[in-house]
Subunit: 486 residues, 2 copies
C-alpha cells in the first residue's frame, strides 16, 4: 500500500481538477432552466472535489516521489476512476439506466470512443447530453497529454520515437523542457481549434447547444451525438463539411500545429510523412467508396455518393464515429474499409484511436526494406523516418505492440463469442472499442446501440475501450507479476 | 528473356519429375477397371513429360548458373505451372467443370489447402479422387523441401533462423551439406510416416483406396476427401483417432523427426519450444472447445464432445481441414477459435500452413521482453530461442512478414467484398486460403464448397492459396520493380 501513495496523491489532484468539469453541465442546466438536474451536477462537483481533497489529505505525509514506472498505474487508475465519477450523475438523470450501462457510457465518453448504450437521446435532459459530449472533450485533452507527453517518457510501443526522433517542439529541450509546458502549448492549440469549430458549427446553422456539443465530440474525435439521428438530424452539406474539416484537423498530431505556430511555417505539417500518409489514405478511400456507392446505385448522383463517402470515411477513418445514414446497409466493402481505416489512419498525438499512422508507416517501411533485403541480402538499408534512422529497439517495440494489439482483438472477440454473440457483432464490437471508433456492425451497427448487449459484454467492452485508449501496453503491464515486484 | 533461362531450365526438370505423378492415378484406374480414364492419365503423363523435355531441349545451351534470387521466381513458377498441368485431366474427367474450378481445385490440392470447388465427390471416378488426394501428398513433399531447404537459403520472413540458429541437422554442415541430401533425409521420414499412416488407416477399417487417399491428405495436411461426407462417412472413433495422431505428427517439423532418428533421442523433439507451444495450444483448445460443446449441450455426453473437439481442433489447428460434422453450426466460439488456431499453430518445416508457431513464439517472446523493458528500461534482455539469441534482423523480418500477412488478408477480403460476398464468407474464405486450411464459414462452410463462388472469386482465392503456401514474401517480391532490375 505504501508504494501506491505517490500515485494516489496525483490521482487525488486529478479528481479535484476533474470536479470542475461538472460545472459545465451545471451551468447549461441552469441556462436551460432544468432546476432539478442542476442539483445533480452540483452534487457531482461537490462529491468529486471532496473525494479528491479527502484522498489528498489522507496522503499528505507521503514521502516517496513518483517513479516513471508509477505512470502506468496512474494513467490506468485515472481512466478507471474518472468514468466511475462521471457515471454517477447518469444514474440519477437517465431513466431506467443500470450501472453497467452508465459506466460503459462514461468510459465511452472519456475514451472518446462514442459507442453509446443509450437509446432516446433526444428525450434526455440537455445537461445530460452536454455532460456526455463534454466528457469527450475532456477525453481529447487527456489523450493529447497522454500520448504526447506521458507515453514517450514511458517509452511505450515505439512511441519513444516521439521523444527523440520526431521533428517538432518536443525535440528542442529548451523550448518545452517540461511536460506541463508542452501540455499547455498543445492545449492552447486544442482550445483555439475548438473555438473555431464551435463558431463554424453555429455559422453553419446549429443552435448554440448543438454547436457546443458537436464541437466537443468533433475535437475529441468522440462521435457522441445528442440526437438519435446524429448528423441525419440536420441533413445539411454545410454542417457536414464543417464536421469533415474539423475531424480531419483533429486526426493530426497537435504537436504539428504547435510546431507550425511556433515556426510560422506549414512545412513541418505538410512534409510530415505521417500526415502525408494520413491525407493519402483518407482521400483514396473517399474516392474508392464514392465509386462503389455510385456503381451500386446507392445514391442518385455521383455528387451525393461523394458527399456520403467523404463524411463517413472521415468520420470512421479518424475514429470519430458519426453517422449521417445507415452505412452498414451499404455494400459491405464500404463499412469494412471504413472501420479498417479507423484501425490505423489517425496520427499519433491526435485525439484519434487505433494503431496510429506512424506505426503503420514504420511497418510499411520495414516491409519494403525486407523485400529489398531478400533481393539484395548485403545491402544495408535502415528504416528511416523524416530523414532519421529508426533504431531497431523502436521496430521491436512496434512488433510487440502489434502482437498485443492482434492478440487483444482476437482474445476479446473469443470472449464476446463465448458470451453468445454472432461473429460479425462480436468482432466488430471489439474492433470499434479497442480502436475507440464507436458504432460497429451487426447488432451494434450505426442505427442500433450498445444497450442491446448484456452487462458482462458491456464490462468487457469497457475494458476494451480502456485498453485501446491507453495504447494497450500501459494497461497490460499492470497484469505482470514483475510490475508489482520491488 | 535471357535471364529467365536458368529458372526455366530447372522448371523443365521439375515438370519431367512431376509427370511421373500421373502414373499413380493411371495405375489405380487400371486396377479399378476405369479403362477410359486410364488414357487421360497416360496423356497427362506424356504431355507433361514432353513439355518438360521440350522446354529443357530449347534451353540446352543456357549458360548462366541459378542465382539465389532466381529461387523466388522458380518456386512461384513451379506452384503456378504444376496446378495448370494437374488441372487439365480434371477438365476431361469431371462432368461440367470449368477451367477456373479445375485450376482452383488443382491449386488447392498442390498447396495442400483442401478447399474443394467440386460437389458430388462420391460420384467421381476413383482415379480422379486418387489424383486430387495424391496431389496433396506431392504438395506436402514440395512444401517440406521449400520451407526447410529453400526458404532459409533465401533468408525469408525470419526463416533464416532455420539456417543458423535451430538445433537440428541443417546446423551441422557436414551432416547434410547440400539441399538434395537434406531433402532426401526429410522425405525418407515423410515416406516412413506415410507408410505407417496407410497401414493404420487400413487396420482401422478403411479399404485400401480410402486408406491411400486419406493417408495422402493427412500427411500433406491437405484435407481433401473422396467423400462428400468426409470423415462422417465412417463415423468411427478408431479412424478418427488414427487421423488425429498422424495430423498431429505431420504438423511438427520433419527436421525434428530426422534429428530424433539420427540422434536416437527424442530430446530434440520434446524440448523444442515450438513443439511444446504447438502441443500446448492444441491440447488447451481441445479442452476449451469440449467444455463449450458440453455446456451448450451439442452432444449428449462429455466423451462425445471431447471426441468431436479433438478431431476438429487437430484438423483445423494443423490446417488439415477435415470435417466429421458441420462444426460451423456449433456455438461460433468453436469454429472461430479452430480457424484462428489454423492461422499459426503448425510448426515451420511441417506440411501445415499459416504463420507458423515459431514466428508466434518469437512474437510472444518479443512482447514479453517489451513488457519487461518498459518496467526496467535499462535491463538488457535479448529474445532467445532454444538458448541462442535471436538477431534483431530476424525480428525485423518477422515484423515485415506479419505486416504483409495482415495486409494480404485485409486486402484480399476487401477484394472479395467488392465482388459481392458477405463479410463472413469473404473474410473466412481468405483466411482459410491464405493459411491453407480448407473449409471456411458462411457460404464456404464445411457442408458447402467453393463451387458456389464465381470465376473471379476462385482466381483471387487461387492466388491467396499460392501466396500463403509460398510464405507471401517469395511471391510478392516478384511484384517489385527492383526484382527485375539487373
Ligand atoms: K470515436
Ligand atoms: K489444408
Amino acid at each position: 500500500m505504501d508504494s501506491l501513495q505517490p500515485v494516489l496523491a496525483v490521482l487525488a489532484r486529478v479528481l479535484m481538477g476533474f470536479s470542475v468539469a461538472f460545472l459545465v453541465p451545471l451551468l447549461w442546466s441552469l441556462w436551460a432552466g432544468e432546476g432539478g438536474h442542476a442539483r445533480v451536477w452540483a452534487a457531482g462537483f461537490g462529491a468529486t472535489l471532496v473525494a479528491g481533497w479527502g484522498l489528498g489529505w489522507l496522503l499528505r505525509h507521503h514521502s516517496r516521489e513518483m517513479q516513471p514506472r508509477d505512470g502506468f498505474l496512474l494513467v490506468t487508475l485515472v481512466w478507471v476512476a474518472l468514468p466511475a465519477c462521471a457515471a454517477v450523475p447518469l444514474m440519477w438523470t437517465v431513466p431506467g439506466i443500470e450501472w453497467a450501462d452508465a459506466y460503459f457510457e462514461a468510459m465511452s465518453a472519456l475514451t472518446a470512443t462514442g459507442a453509446t448504450a443509450l437509446a432516446g437521446l433526444d428525450r434526455l435532459p440537455l445537461s445530460v447530453n452536454i455532460w456526455r459530449c463534454f466528457l469527450q472533450f475532456i477525453g481529447g485533452l487527456g489523450i493529447i497529454l497522454l500520448v504526447v507527453a506521458v507515453l514517450p517518457l514511458l517509452g511505450l510501443g515505439g512511441m519513444q520515437l516521439y521523444r527523440a526522433e520526431t521533428p517538432g517542439p518536443l525535440k528542442d529541450d529548451k523550448l518545452t523542457p517540461r511536460i506541463a509546458e508542452t501540455a499547455r502549448g498543445l492545449w492552447t492549440v486544442y482550445f483555439a481549434l475548438s473555438a473555431l469549430c464551435l463558431v463554424s458549427y453555429r455559422a453553419a446553422g446549429m443552435g448554440w447547444p448543438d454547436a457546443f456539443m458537436y464541437m466537443c465530440t468533433t475535437m475529441g474525435l468522440g462521435g457522441f451525438s445528442p440526437h438519435d439521428a446524429s448528423f441525419a438530424q440536420f441533413d445539411s452539406p454545410v454542417i457536414e463539411a464543417v464536421a469533415i474539416v474539423f475531424m480531419t484537423l483533429a486526426g493530426v498530431s497537435f504537436l504539428r500545429y504547435f510546431a507550425v505556430w511556433r515556426g510560422r511555417s506549414t512545412r513541418v505539417l505538410v512534409r510530415d510523412p505521417e500526415v502525408q500518409a494520413y491525407a493519402f489514405v483518407l482521400l483514396a478511400s473517399v474516392f474508392a467508396i464514392s465509386f462503389v456507392l455510385h456503381a451500386h446505385g446507392v445514391y442518385d448522383s455521383f455528387a451525393a455518393s461523394l458527399r456520403a463517402a467523404a463524411f463517413h470515411v472521415v468520420s470512421l477513418g479518424t475514429t470519430t464515429g458519426y453517422a449521417a445514414t445507415d452505412y452498414a446497409a451499404w455494400p459491405p466493402f464500404a463499412p469494412v474499409l471504413m472501420i479498417f481505416l479507423g484501425c490505423f489512419a489517425s496520427c499519433a498525438g491526435s485525439t484519434g484511436g487505433g494503431i496510429k499512422m506512424v506505426r503503420m508507416v514504420l511497418l510499411l517501411k520495414q516491409a519494403q526494406r525486407e523485400l529489398v533485403r531478400i533481393i539484395h541480402p548485403r545491402v544495408v538499408n535502415p528504416v528511416t523516418l523524416g530523414g532519421a534512422t529508426v533504431p531497431a529497439t523502436v521496430l521491436a517495440a512496434v512488433l510487440a505492440f502489434m502482437l498485443i494489439y492482434g492478440a487483444s482483438i482476437i482474445g476479446l472477440t473469443l470472449v464476446m463469442l463465448l458470451s453468445g454473440l454472432d461473429l460479425v457483432t462480436a468482432f466488430s464490437a471489439v474492433i470499434v472499442c479497442v480502436n475507440n471508433i464507436g458504432p460497429g456492425l451487426g447488432l451494434v451497427g450505426p442505427v442500433s446501440n450498445f444497450g442491446v448487449l448484456n452487462d458482462f459484454q458491456l464490462w468487457v467492452l469497457s475494458f476494451a475501450m480502456l485498453l485501446g485508449r491507453l495504447e494497450l501496453l500501459s494497461v497490460l503491464v499492470l497484469f505482470t507479476a514483475r510490475f508489482w515486484r520491488k
